[in-house]
Amino acid sequence: MAIYPLKETRTPPKSQTKAIAWLKDNLFSSISNAALTFVALYVIYLLLPPILNWTIFDANFDLTADNQSCGREGACWSFINANLKMFIYGFYPKEELWRVNTMFGLIAVLVMFGSLIKKTQYRVHYIIGSFLIYPVVAFVLLYGGLGLEIVETDKWGGLTLTVIVAAIGIIASFPLGILFALGRQSEMRVVRFISVIYIEFVRGVPLITILFMASVVLPLFFSAGMDFDKLLRALIGITLFQTAYIAEVIRGGFQAIPKGQYEAADAAGLSFMQKTILIILPQALKISIPNIVGSFIALFKDTTLLLIIGLFDMLAIVGAASSNSSWLGRETEGYVFVAMVIWVILYSMSRYSKRLEVRFSTEHR
């Protein structure tokens, strides 16, 4: 019999030139792939120059220019500058803007303090405390009371409104979604039945319908004196809507967990609550992160539907600003700007979700 000595390990061979190898692998690996590359290049050639011309080369970057002096061949970015406050704060009174800034600033402060706390246990207390106290502070700041002048919610708008609605929708729908996901898995028939009915009903209806219901139909059931805030109604509608989607996403996470995990938790003598909170939920949520964030991104975009019930989110503000007689015909600049802002926010959310996935990953790497 022969004996074979162990061979030494070597580094892989270097390809001749990295750039050429990359081109060959990615853009010209086959004839059809090469053809697609050329088609794509042609499309870029057709589209890119006019876009660049309009946004940069023919655009007027003079931030003090008015509608007439701007010219018509390129973008007039002074429109954004002149209306920036409106885009961000809506119709919030100018003297009170510090309140909105303080509210957003507080978040940064909270996050910074939180990152200084190293011990997990204190960190959990801190996070829970923040979630309980911050919304109250934020509400007082925005709405008024305790000596602050009252600012009715129909004055709220712009990016502020978009962020508030999305944040409340996300934060409120998350625990509710978990409850309904658990409810749908429950062995108690009544609980399961209610959960299924709720989830399937809401998912079968577009958000617009729910918003209309909340803003137009709901008040019909209340007596005239009981009319409650339009924004609050919209928030309830959005939360109920989002809850159903989150519930389904998390249920998917539950189902991806092997039966052995439930058995091991049972065999260890854990109660149902312990099993759910300590074993099942952490794993289910981890699996669901991409879908949860996807669902939140969808919600963020859906906040633009608030326009139809008369709330002015950032997109609606563009319409309002460009119908001002001194800026007629400049909505394109506004929409491009809003698109950029929303893209930046959503792209950060999506990157953050990637980071979370990596952080919670316990796979062998």
């Binding site: 052995g260 995990q261 091991a264 049972d266 065999a267 260890a268 854990l270 981890k286 316990t362 062998h364």
Partner: protein, 258 residues
């Protein structure tokens, strides 16, 4: 039958820690366990073997109520198993189980896998639980992996962690459900060694396994199951030397000539 055998063995004939009477279980129409009677003495090491689908896993999973049964009764350490959640949890806190696929909690580090039940079910302090867990990890030879996560360990290491996790609650009874069946061949012995050590310490063990070497070495009694019933049970010597039933003879021929 079992009474007689226990007398014959002449040891541990004090008291039954598990009493199974007239146990019947169906999966839908399929009759999985047929009228099982089985008593286990305190400190007894029992090995159950038999072809797949013979009901051996189902039987031991009934003992900690991972499987519901329709007829008969199981009494564990004086507590009769019923639907009562409290009683089930009480029994589960005294009975630990090691699974074929380890079933470690992948989101928790090794040490947290071990301390989970002591902290949440047995109300031990974090400190106590941690110290005990480290001792147990030392005993199964993987103390240096305490802060790692299950998926970073080999199969054999994971199963040893699972055994340490099962021991962490100081159980009176250990159930092993084919603990070596999912392991690569070279990792089987490291797990079996831990189980042999454990057997010497006088804990009550019921092992579903095809490792006949293990059975010969440590078992007080070997049980052969087929088609949902106990066909034959005997001391390891007689079980392997002079099987009485044809079915056991055939089964032994098949697995021993491999």
């Amino acid at each position: 039958m079992s009474e007689l055998i226990n007398k014959e063995i002449g040891k541990k004939d004090c008291c039954n820690i598990i009493e199974i009477k007239g146990l019947n279980k169906w999966y839908g129409d399929f009759h999985a366990l047929k009228n099982i009677d089985l008593n286990v003495k305190e400190g007894e090491i029992i090995v159950i073997c038999g072809p797949s689908g013979s009901g051996k896993s189902t039987l031991i999973r009934c003992v900690n109520f991972l499987e519901k049964f329709q007829e008969g009764s199981i009494t564990v350490d004086g507590t009769k198993l019923t639907d009562d959640v409290k009683k089930i949890r009480q029994i589960r806190s005294e009975v630990s189980m090691v699974f074929q696929h380890f079933n470690l909690f992948p989101h928790l580090s090794i040490i947290n896998n071990l301390t989970l039940a002591p902290i949440w079910v047995h109300n031990e302090t974090r400190q106590e639980a941690r110290e005990k867990a480290l001792k147990l990890l030392d005993r199964v030879g993987i103390k240096d992996q305490a802060e790692k996560y299950p998926n970073q360990l080999s199969g054999g290491q994971q199963q040893r962690v699972a055994i340490a996790r099962a021991l962490c609650t100081s159980p009176k009874i250990m159930l092993f459900d084919e603990p070596t069946s999912a392991l690569d061949p070279e990792m089987i012995s490291e797990v079996l060694d831990v189980m042999v050590e454990l057997a010497k310490e006088g804990i009550t063990m019921i092992c579903v396994t095809h490792e006949m070497g293990f059975a010969k070495k440590v078992a007080d009694r070997v049980i052969f199951m087929d088609a949902g019933q106990v066909i034959e049970q005997n001391t390891p010597d007689k079980f392997f030397e002079s099987p009485e039933s044809d079915r056991l003879q055939t089964f032994l021929d098949q697995i021993l000539t491999q």
